[in-house]
């Protein structure tokens, strides 16, 4: 072997090994920083930043007796599957082994086959609710699934005893479409008649034809499943066309986004069935959520996003798993994640339901977030404590 090629190989090996032995552990932050979903993604990315700064300021991580700090490498998915895959490849080519994200239900499934095949990436999903994107081996999720959203809908119907419902679902949202038959069956079991199942697509602006039909059937509930801009428009047009029943949303919907599309008065009394978000935890007096909100406001001069708590939690989950593993090897960290209990991560803000042995994740790598229902009052969502305590 020529001396040059030997030195080259040694350098290459050293470069490959660097992130494993260096003091810095690089965390890939994979969120839509720009594009149509950046109002979800940017607050998630910023919460990761805050959590990492907090951890590093407190001395970092202790891995097998050695001290390490986190460093973030942010890549923008633009909530676009193609861009998301390129962003992941960029992280992989930088030898980033720990990834937090992504957000959208289009990007999550696109990344799944790549990460599922890899033994050099550990992923914690803090955004997408699409089904079937975790494996419990190297892909974990601390966000709810659509099915868990549906649990909140069922809880609301149980509490209120609604007799009929028309569902309007974003037909390009694979998660909502996939769980609709099961949700309809659950509501029927509760005695609710399914008066109609209507579809629309992201970007639609006129729902008058469908809503005229809905108003004529006069169901007790109009259940809207999708994104807030369309949710606001459907709510507004339904009221204009004379629908007098209860409007129920099933979507992450920051009040700032909602109020850009509908007045607070028109939103009054609308229910939203998703697990608690940053705002809910703050309203419930959760001290850690309040501290995060204060830090976020101080740093970015605006309130934290609805999903910021999940991203903050994800960083602490990763830290706890690495420390528990005592190693930076993905296999060891994956095993630690699978075995991690809720109690082992005292910094968690969100309300995770522990598994049988207190585990945070089930065998598929999925957490269970406690069901919640919010109601719009005044300028924002508030926990509907009369429905679910």
């Amino acid at each position: 072997m020529k001396p040059f090629s030997g030195i080259g190989a040694a350098c290459a090996l050293a470069m490959l090994a660097t992130p494993l032995w260096a003091d810095e552990i690089v965390v890939g932050d994979l969120h839509p920083i720009t594009g149509p979903a950046n109002f979800y993604g940017l607050p998630e990315s910023r919460a990761i930043q805050l959590a990492v700064e907090e951890i590093n300021a407190a001395g970092g991580l202790s891995v097998g007796g050695e001290s390490h700090t986190f460093r973030i490498q942010t890549e923008d998915t633009q909530a676009n599957p193609t861009v998301g895959v390129s962003a992941l490849k960029k992280l992989v080519s930088s030898d980033v082994r720990f990834v937090i994200g992504p957000l959208s239900s289009g990007v999550g499934p696109a990344l799944f086959p790549i990460i599922d095949r890899s033994d050099a990436i550990t992923q914690i999903i803090d955004g997408t609710i699409a089904e079937g994107v975790t494996n419990g081996r190297n892909i974990f999720r601390n966000q709810a699934t659509v099915s868990q959203y549906d649990v909140s809908v069922v809880a609301l119907f149980k509490a209120k005893g609604y007799g009929s419902v028309t569902m309007m679902t974003d037909r390009f949202h694979a998660g909502f479409v996939g769980t609709q038959p099961a949700l309809a069956a659950s509501l029927k079991e509760l005695g609710a008649e399914i008066a109609g199942e209507e579809g629309y697509k992201l970007g639609d602006t006129d729902f008058s034809a469908t809503l005229t039909r809905v108003a004529s059937r006069n169901p007790d509930v109009l259940l809207i499943r999708g994104y807030p801009a369309e949710g606001a428009l459907i709510t507004k047009q339904a009221r204009q066309l004379g629908f007098e029943g209860q409007v129920v949303w099933e979507m992450v919907s920051p009040p700032s986004t909602v109020l850009k599309n509908i007045s607070a008065a028109e939103m009054e009394g609308v229910y939203n069935c998703i697990p608690a978000t940053t705002e809910d935890y703050i309203a419930l007096g959760n001290e850690k959520a309040i501290a995060l909100e204060e830090a976020y406001r101080a740093r970015f001069n605006e309130p934290a996003g609805e999903l910021s708590v999940l991203s903050y939690d994800a960083v602490h989950i990763l830290k706890a798993a690495i420390e528990k593993a005592g190693s930076l090897e993905n296999a060891a960290v994956n095993a630690a994640l699978a075995d991690l209990t809720v109690e082992e991560v005292p910094q968690l803000i969100s309300d995770y339901v522990p598994g049988e042995g207190g585990q945070l994740f089930d065998d598929k790598g999925q957490v269970t977030l406690r069901s919640a229902v919010s109601v719009w009052q005044g300028e924002g969502w508030h926990p509907a404590t009369d429905v679910i305590r």
Binding site: F39, S208, T210, T212, A229, A232, K260
Partner: protein, 289 residues
């Protein structure tokens, strides 16, 4: 179901008015200058965003709309100078690519300025008109009235002003018009100004009804091209009738068959018109010499 017919018809006319309002400017530019102006959707989008920005700053809606229309007219003329005039003599494909490029640049610029989040312009008029037969919002009535006013205004310009005569002459026979001493510069400028103004008016009015976001012009322009084919390219009555017809068909399909089939219904009619009457309802068959 039949008792809902009048309501669905009004829904269709209201939706169709939005299509026709967007299509008016597009048909003018395409009819006179033969430019497939995909950036028309961005005139529409910018009309909405500029109005939004000024209303948010505390300005009266109608004044904000007037200023936005003025700004979009300037932009429209600039787009013509930068994107279309330089490729005037190039093959039609170059014109299409240039139009797409202008559209994407304007979209991305808006994305950088305002972000991708959807929002709605606070409506200047709220509330609904309830009759025994149908319900319609006052904003929808304003859009319908604006369509009629815009169509009448463009008709007056084209048929009662010397400038309109020049525009019509260029639309009929460009070479002959040039030989008669008509200034092509003035005609281009006026056509783009009127087209851009119509797009901006549509954007401001519809932005008070529907959410606005940087890519909001894509779908309406696609629909406007359908309207052009239905009504007949370059025909103002065709744009109005085509828009209303498309709106009513979409609503009837969504209301009486399935909401998921409304787009399929619209494009099926487009194909049928192309097969049976390629010149559209109001267009005239032309013989290539």
């Amino acid at each position: 179901m039949i008792d809902l017919f009048v309501q669905q018809l009004v829904n269709g006319l209201a939706l169709g008015s939005t299509y026709a309002l967007v299509a008016l400017g597009l048909t003018l530019i395409f009819g006179v200058l033969l430019i497939p102006n995909f950036a028309h959707g961005e005139f529409y989008m910018l009309g909405a965003f500029l109005t939004y920005a000024m209303v948010l700053a505390g300005m009266n809606f109608w004044l904000a709309m007037a200023l936005a229309v003025g700004a979009v007219i300037l932009l429209g003329c600039l787009v013509d100078r930068l994107a279309f005039k330089p490729v005037e003599q190039a093959p039609p494909l170059s014109m299409m690519i240039s139009a797409l490029a202008a559209s994407i640049i304007l979209q991305q610029s808006a994305m950088l300025i305002w972000g991708g989040e959807a929002r709605t312009i606070p409506a200047p008029v709220t509330g609904v008109l309830r009759t025994p037969f149908f319900i319609v919002t006052w904003m929808q009535l304003i859009v319908m009235a604006s369509l009629l006013l815009a169509a009448a205004g463009v008709w007056l310009v084209l048929n009662r002003l010397r400038l309109g005569l020049a525009i019509r002459a260029v639309a009929q026979n460009r070479d002959a018009a040039l030989l008669m001493g008509i200034s092509m510069f003035q005609v281009r400028l006026a056509t783009f100004a009127i087209g851009a103004a119509l797009g901006a008016i549509a954007g401001a009015l519809l932005g008070a009804t529907f959410p606005i976001y940087p890519t909001m012009g894509v779908n309406p322009v696609l629909k406007a091209f359908v309207v052009l084919v239905l009504g007949g390219i370059g025909s103002l009555p065709g744009a109005v009738f085509g828009g209303l017809f498309l709106g009513v068909v979409e609503v009837m399909v969504a209301g009486y068959i399935s909401s998921e089939l409304s787009d399929i219904g619209a494009f099926a009619i487009l194909v049928a018109v192309l097969l049976l009457r390629p010149q559209g309802f109001f267009g005239q068959a032309q013989v290539e010499r």
